[in-house]
Symmetry: C2
Subunit: 171 residues, 2 copies
């Protein structure tokens, strides 16, 4: 192979950007509720289907995916959160906390992470085993984009005027 | 930096897997329509909001993002499609065609792609300029996941019994 990317480049800045863009679309959602005069909290409980997670949980899961992703690749313990957010302001604080946490990693922390053995306990499928590269490319990254895209879709479905540039941008 | 990934590893197999999983969730959508006795074509025209693209266009855009992504990184012309699909069968053929196209690239085709200058013409923002690394991590990959997640969200919202394992799996 011709090595041309680092595990760090393909994770930390990517995760930070996805979370910043998520915060940006959430801010548009909150502003839309204020303009239209409805309780923004309604958006946090909106889902695309009755047995799907609502917006609030999509944001919690996106942040968890990012912080666990970086921690597992670096081989350190991830901070535990209480998952007790109930408002946009609290979700922004959670996003800021994870963006700050990600910013404390540097390239050196990810040295050798491509071959690090990573084991994920799951409720329904026992333990999933990866090397770091497979974990980053086949689990952490798609999972993070799944949750940020779903959060965007819930807001879009709710009439919030967001476009793909809000999702892809560098906010 | 500690180079530990190749541009090829972070693109071609990732794109192929995302498109295979997309085909898998589409198959579940078609099967659901057959079981419930409604025209599966209805799903292809379903959208999450009136001015958002329907499922059919999400699949076309996902495949375009993947084939343009690989072609631009390798510095070759991407095949042009007529965008005339109207059925699940035709979308499967399009997905297969792009998966086959991606499979023809090898590591060597991506040598030096991390610094390749890539220019995208856009309708509303003039030309976007990237190096290959920024294009892959900041445009092609999030854009692909945006469209496959949105396709999944449209099916999920329509009552198709898919779960995150269908999205993340290796189908």
């Amino acid at each position: 192979m011709s090595p041309s990317l680092s595990m760090y480049q393909a994770s930390v800045p990517v995760f930070v950007r996805a979370l910043r863009n998520l915060k940006h679309v959430l801010e548009k959602g909150q502003a839309h509720a204020q303009e239209r005069g409805f309780d923004a909290g309604v958006l946090l409980q909106t889902r695309l289907y009755p047995d799907m997670l609502p917006l609030l949980r999509q944001v919690q899961n996106a942040t968890d995916t990012a912080k666990f992703g970086a921690a597992r690749l670096a081989g350190v313990e991830s901070p535990k959160f209480d998952d007790d957010e109930t408002s946009f302001a609290e979700l922004y604080a959670r996003l800021d906390r994870v963006i700050d946490y990600l910013g404390r990693f540097d390239e050196a922390a990810f040295a050798g992470s491509e071959t690090r053995a990573i084991t994920l306990p799951t409720r329904s499928r026992g333990e999933l085993k990866f090397d770091g590269r497979g974990y980053l490319l086949g689990f952490a990254t798609p999972n993070l984009y799944f949750h940020v895209s779903t959060a965007y879709a819930i807001l879009r479905h709710s009439g919030v005027p967001v476009g793909k540039r809000d999702f892809l941008g560098d906010h």
